[in-house]
């Protein structure tokens, strides 16, 4: 235990403000849980939904037109697509970060925190770019 931790008043009682504002998940933990959530979302429902879209759009000329000119123009569908792109981008970037960590790249506290921030920002920027292009 470091001396800084030892000097803090103990015991510490969990008050609502403490839970809300003092105790925060560190950036790498935030990226980690989002990696899990985005992965679960990609498994279901996004994989099934995209397969359905691929199926319909490849099955026939009418199916393609229906998907492209009608279905994909609906705002709720565009919103869902944007959520998908965020989930994919985040899972992609965080996954590459975890692979690098696995081969002992950037495992010190500083670089690990910084790369977690980069993952969050890059995936949000990619999502914003996609959203701007489809709207």
């Amino acid at each position: 235990m470091s001396s800084a931790a030892a000097k803090r008043p103990r015991p510490k009682y969990l008050t609502l403000p403490a839970i809300l504002f003092e105790i925060r998940l560190p950036m790498p933990g935030f990226v980690s849980i989002l990696h899990r959530i985005s992965g679960a979302l990609l498994f279901f429902p996004f994989a099934a939904w995209l397969l359905y879209l691929l199926d319909t759009s490849l099955a026939s000329e009418q199916g393609f037109a229906r998907v492209k000119d009608h279905y994909l123009q609906m705002p709720i569908v565009k919103l869902a697509l944007i959520v998908f792109v965020w989930a994919f981008a985040h899972h992609f970037c965080a996954g590459i970060r975890f692979l690098l960590l696995d081969i002992n790249h950037g495992i010190e506290l500083g670089p690990a925190r910084r790369s977690a921030g980069v993952v969050l920002v890059v995936s949000l920027l990619l999502t914003a770019f996609f959203a701007w292009r489809i709207w």
Binding site: L42, F43, A47, A48, L51, L54, F64, A65, F88, F92
Partner: protein, 89 residues
């Protein structure tokens, strides 16, 4: 899978398959069919590992855990079968 993502993005941006013929043509290429199938199989395997970890972390009762894992396997097998059906029609 990362490689397939990049290949697909490049193919979409260079080819711009905005009509049915081009879209269908893209997925009728032999290499595209094989790449997409490889992607689907890799994805199913990867999703199995990930979902299995999630289920093992949060679902404690044995029966429910086994049930969810069986559902996961069936769903993933269904995805792969569906992909084959879409690609070779």
């Amino acid at each position: 899978m990362a490689l397939y993502t990049l290949v697909l993005l490049v193919a979409l941006m260079r080819g711009r398959p905005t009509d049915y013929g081009a879209w269908k043509g893209l997925f009728q290429n032999g290499w595209m069919r094989v790449a997409t199938l490889l992607f689907a199989v890799s994805l199913a395997w990867h999703a199995w590992v990930g979902v299995r970890d999630i289920v093992m972390d949060y679902i404690k009762p044995d029966g429910l855990r086994l049930g969810l894992q069986v559902v996961t396997i069936l769903l993933l097998a269904g995805y792969v079968g569906w992909t084959v059906q879409v690609l070779w029609r």
